[in-house]
Symmetry: C2
Subunit: 418 residues, 2 copies
């Protein structure tokens, strides 16, 4: 007898169900066993009390009949039950629908906590988000790349990099695919990558992970940074539209998907003015508090949960960022979503001599950038791009407490499990 | 004036072309400039000799007219030319169609060598291969996951792992997503991952990379390992079919795409007998020489470039491999393609007690597998899966000399550039 999937059960037929025991309930000599598998839940009814435990893998044979009170309106009158793999009891965390698990519980019992309906939903939605990102980029003529994560420098500069012992040398885990996607602009003009990004972030916050899934794209032959933002606007419109139509799981979080038409673009200087007096304002960059305050004001003024902050201070940006005509400003931006930065992007310097000057002015040595500079030595078009944090979008979309909840096996300084 | 893409040029119109100078040819006071951009090549004709160099980024304005002798049968009568970014001369490697570059040249001048038509083609085909893999897995109800590459052990055992300094502790780069995809079988039943795989491979060969793009899937509720192979058969049929219809670039390599109906399945014992006397035979595993000899024999006998070698010796397999009824054999297999192993797969042990016994028998400590064992403690279905090396498929499909040619920035013990 072949396995029947819950989503394909036919009333009147005999079926063999295989899945996990979600719950067991006894009532007047009858036992209701709720079975969970990849296509849904089904209730199986037995006379007496079969010896069975929650989360065990079972095989149940019985007849399918209508039962308006059961999930999916069908029920299986159980004839035979076989325990395929018995789950130890008690469970280290609850897997029921209403179980409220703390972050340490979620992470420490990951193999079990992920079986909870809501936790499963997070990573299904994440998979759909990543799928939609790629589909959109492909539709716009972008080629997918897979760049190395073992670099000879940290790429973005700064000290927050992880060293790797590499055959007697030291390599560094890539903090972004920045240099490689720029290199590939010189090859394909338009490239994107979905890949791991590593940041040796020493602070415990709800917005930082030591390892996250980065969505990156880079566009050649742009006329200005505005095109980089336009592309992100169109991409997010597609991605959020896809999630809305393909993720019924969103309702478990009462998640409201943003309806994107145009995302307001506000200069850094203007954003600061909007919130002056409403929270402490740092002149040279955005604090998390400022990001939240800006989003509140933008929501009021423009009715948008998303906002581009443009003309970001040049001094806060990596050396490859294109300076603006306006003194001290750069052709770079951040995208904030419900008070959280989910993207940084910019136009990049594309002229060889200008780039060399920028490296030297940043106090770094040209010798460290030999491979990178080779792209520019042999002709690069004007270009720009973005890096997006997948877990941050998921956090804000679903209203999670921390980005850690949106990572299968989150890595932080504080937590390193399994 | 907006940029015109080469693929959309209309005869009679005035166009602004932007791209790289592929070649410059002067003939009787006329200069032919071949421009390359993401949609193709176009020939631009100028009177006199514009000051211009190969690989420079240029903007050319002129009128489009018919020219049967030009690529794409159109030509642009150049009126204006602007150098956007000048390329230094001489080029460190040739980028012309007929340039033959050695592996060190390809790698050392990666930003430039990738601009060559054939090199570009390799990574376009790779992108399509990965896309097709994901599309197929999605169509079969698999959920995409992104597991951590920072592990507390090497996962697969053995010494070929890269240590990472992780906030004062040591982490190890994942040698496979094995444990995590098994964990996720306990959640979604069917999962796949496209992700980086790290092997501190000390030998210089044409088949090993220290970092490669792994294609992994894992299936729950299988009845036997045969289902794991069936899935790969169907997947490869889809993937190769997609490449055939979507990659005109294949003709640059005169690549013959395999027509997959069923892939022969031959036991390890039988495969050894097939080649006895034809090459030195190691009793307990397959050497590269044996793999090539087996493929030759299979090609003769079955007319197939691919072959599954089943019932692989248990002693050669990781501890989690399901033993066969046959003494010393396992429910695991390799898939060979034109003499190269491109996949290892198996059914896995799914019973908690049996798995603990296998860990102890392999001489390892249970404490090291706490997170992994938690999956099995709480009920796991019978399952199995595969790990596939993307660069190996590309190498064999395109007839490349080494897997390094199929990696954007290849990492080996010997080569660590850029």
């Amino acid at each position: 007898m072949k396995r029947s999937l819950v989503s394909k059960l036919q009333i009147g037929e005999s079926a063999k169900i295989m899945g996990w025991v979600q719950s067991i309930r006894s009532l007047g000599g009858i036992t209701f066993v709720l079975v969970r598998e990849r296509t849904g839940f089904v209730q199986c009814v037995f006379k007496g009390s079969p010896r069975i435990s929650r989360e065990s893998v079972v095989e149940i044979v019985g007849r399918v009949h209508q039962e308006p009170r059961a999930p999916g309106q069908v029920e299986i009158k159980g004839e035979k039950i076989r325990i395929v793999s018995e789950a130890a009891q008690p469970l280290s965390v609850e897997t029921g629908k209403s179980a409220k698990l703390s972050l340490p519980q979620l992470i420490e019992s990951r193999p079990l906590s992920l079986r909870q309906e809501k936790q499963q939903a997070i990573f299904k939605i994440k998979a759909e988000l990543v799928w939609a990102f790629r589909e959109f980029m492909r539709s716009q003529g972008f080629v997918e790349i897979h760049s190395t994560k073992l670099t000879s420098g940290g790429l973005e500069g700064g000290s927050e990099v992880f060293p790797v012992k590499y055959f007697g040398k030291t390599a560094w885990l890539a903090q972004s695919p920045q240099f490689y996607k720029q290199m590939m602009v010189g090859v394909y003009e338009r490239v994107f990558e979905v890949g791991k990004v590593y940041r040796a972030e020493p602070h415990a916050t709800t917005r930082h992970l030591a390892e996250y899934v980065g969505l990156d794209y880079e566009i050649g032959f742009i006329e200005s940074v505005e095109e980089v933002m336009e592309m992100e606007e169109k991409m997010l419109k597609f991605v959020f539209g896809h999630l809305k139509t393909h993720c019924p799981e969103l309702k478990l979080f009462e998640a409201k998907v943003p309806e994107i038409e145009t995302i307001p673009r506000i200069t850094f200087a203007k954003a600061k003015e909007m919130i002056r007096g409403k929270c402490p304002v740092k002149e040279s960059g955005l604090t998390p508090e400022m990001e939240r305050a800006i989003c509140q004001e933008v929501e009021k003024e423009y009715g948008s949960e998303l906002v581009f902050i443009t003309k970001y201070p040049l001094g806060e940006r990596p050396f490859y960022t294109m300076p603006s005509k306006e003194e001290g400003c750069s052709e770079s931006f951040e995208l904030l979503y419900k008070g959280l930065e989910i993207t940084t992007g910019s136009q990049r310097i594309h002229q060889y001599e200008e780039l060399k000057k920028a490296i030297v002015e940043a106090g770094m040595k040209l010798e460290g950038f030999k491979g990178y500079l080779m792209c520019f030595k042999y002709g690069m078009p004007p270009h720009g791009g973005v890096g997006i944090g997948t877990e941050r979008i998921i956090k804000e979309l679903l209203g999670l407490g921390s980005v850690e909840e949106a990572s299968l096996i989150p890595r932080t300084k504080q937590r390193f499990h399994h």
